[in-house]
Symmetry: C2
Amino acid sequence: MYSMTTSAVHPPRGPVTRKDVARYAGVSTAVVSYVVNGGPKRVAPATEAKVQDAIRVLGYRPNAAARALKLGSSETIGLIIPDNSNPFFSQLAHAVEDAAAELGFALFLTNSDGDLAKERRHIRNLAARQVDGVVLASVLSEPDLADLEAAEIPSVLLSHSERPAGLTSVGVDLAAGARTAVEHLVGHGHLNIGLAMGTTTANEADDREQGWLQALEGAGLQEGPIARSAFTREGGYAAGKRLLASGHRPTAIFASSDMQAVGILRAFHEAGFSVPEDFALVAFDGSVEAEYSWPPLTTVEQPVRAMADAAVRALVGEGRGEPPRHHVFPTRLVVRQSCGCP
Amino acid sequence: MYSMTTSAVHPPRGPVTRKDVARYAGVSTAVVSYVVNGGPKRVAPATEAKVQDAIRVLGYRPNAAARALKLGSSETIGLIIPDNSNPFFSQLAHAVEDAAAELGFALFLTNSDGDLAKERRHIRNLAARQVDGVVLASVLSEPDLADLEAAEIPSVLLSHSERPAGLTSVGVDLAAGARTAVEHLVGHGHLNIGLAMGTTTANEADDREQGWLQALEGAGLQEGPIARSAFTREGGYAAGKRLLASGHRPTAIFASSDMQAVGILRAFHEAGFSVPEDFALVAFDGSVEAEYSWPPLTTVEQPVRAMADAAVRALVGEGRGEPPRHHVFPTRLVVRQSCGCP
């Protein structure tokens, strides 16, 4: 059986160009550009309808690479996160994707896996790709952004608690969040409150530790034991075992991330202890996994969506080009059962 | 105190161009292109060293958009996943990112949130951006790829169990994996094995259900109760409650995803039941969350890294342009405690 397709009877043609669209719609190529790019000049609705009709009929696809060259923009932002097997960061990445899409930007996602060399490599690659901006959840409080600066690519630090000079950053008040968590445990009558503190490659001081200390001081309590390990499930598991083996075993623990708390729960379950009966536990982040652990975790929630929106707007939205500032969002204690509440 | 920087004494200049590099290195601009793009012509090592030196000294950054136009390639692939709050998909996304990076490709990440209209919109956007290829974990077994085909952009279906005509796809043998899981529960002596089956927007038949049926038939057992709900923690939670309320309450359950099993665990814990003492549970996916639930989940592991590698290689690696085929990977039962094993 033979079949005759359109391409068999018409001579092959190249891709439909802006010129073809302009001719079909009876407008200039500039007007086609305005419609395709949503500006810079406004186009009358009737004219725009004619152009959109021509685009549809001819099957015109604006060439993204050619547009990027002309506009000096690829309508793309890059995101670097330390670990997307941590649901806090995968939720953050999703929120950044949504916020970017709303402004017409696509998202290059890269994971640094908490590795400084890998973070630097991603920064260099994104600079070479001439993205419109980079959202960086760095492993450092003062990351090296020389490659982006040289390429004049703006960047915003996300999930960041410092106020780095000359950079816009978005974060929460970690110390205040940690204080709320520890004060809640104090309210349950605990006198020996330990800390499972996450550490990064950079091993810098963290405001969550300050918040824990401040709450203990405020209540006139002595420092409980500290277990330092990675901000991961595995890290929490190791910290949980160490806290159980502690000579001055705490009755309550503040964990600096949900993932660590999940690991601590496993260590306690394995050793035959119950939470909150034997140990109370409060975590930090407010990721979805905290809601489905057993028992469900009382945790300090970071407003992921608002933080992602602020970062993207500062980078390529209405905040673009404004002087650097540090956006601080409040946290919220989400009370479930791991703290001892009914 | 005054500081004098280089930029303060030299007049500002525009970006370094390929021409500048050529002049500095004493070669033609074509040779600079060959070095930057790794071809198409070969360059003598001594000449390449001169060009690399010039690139370093002048701080030249090849313009990605200009290169994409010239090469007909943006060195970019798109990935569409249904839900990155599911760690199986966030691990899959990370593996695709790594596999793509190894071949020099950056990754546009998009989430369809299990929504068909959103999936179509992402496909259209990626086509307009002229990516080199799209990896699609679709909500449908036969997704609509017309936009990609019209733009001559290749695509590969990932985490796919069907053999769609004319398309390359990568997946596991879902039925065989499910059979292994259910046979393991049969081996523990269970006679009434229920099924928590995930459903998608498309609500199509799923081979995991077939595998469950086949294992029951093979053991001469009657069908246990089925609870259908979303492939999520929430879906599993609802399914767990329904299975508990079932008139013919099962003693063991096969859940079609880790996330559903995590939700089922919560429903059982809340109702005061123990796993595996009161109910045995085996899940599917092998994500990291399954290792840290309580009890840790026995689960059918999908080889995420191998699947991602195969998809990316078929799309833009050595498999590019080869006739469509369906890559099937074997699964592996990871035995932990939820099944009743010690």
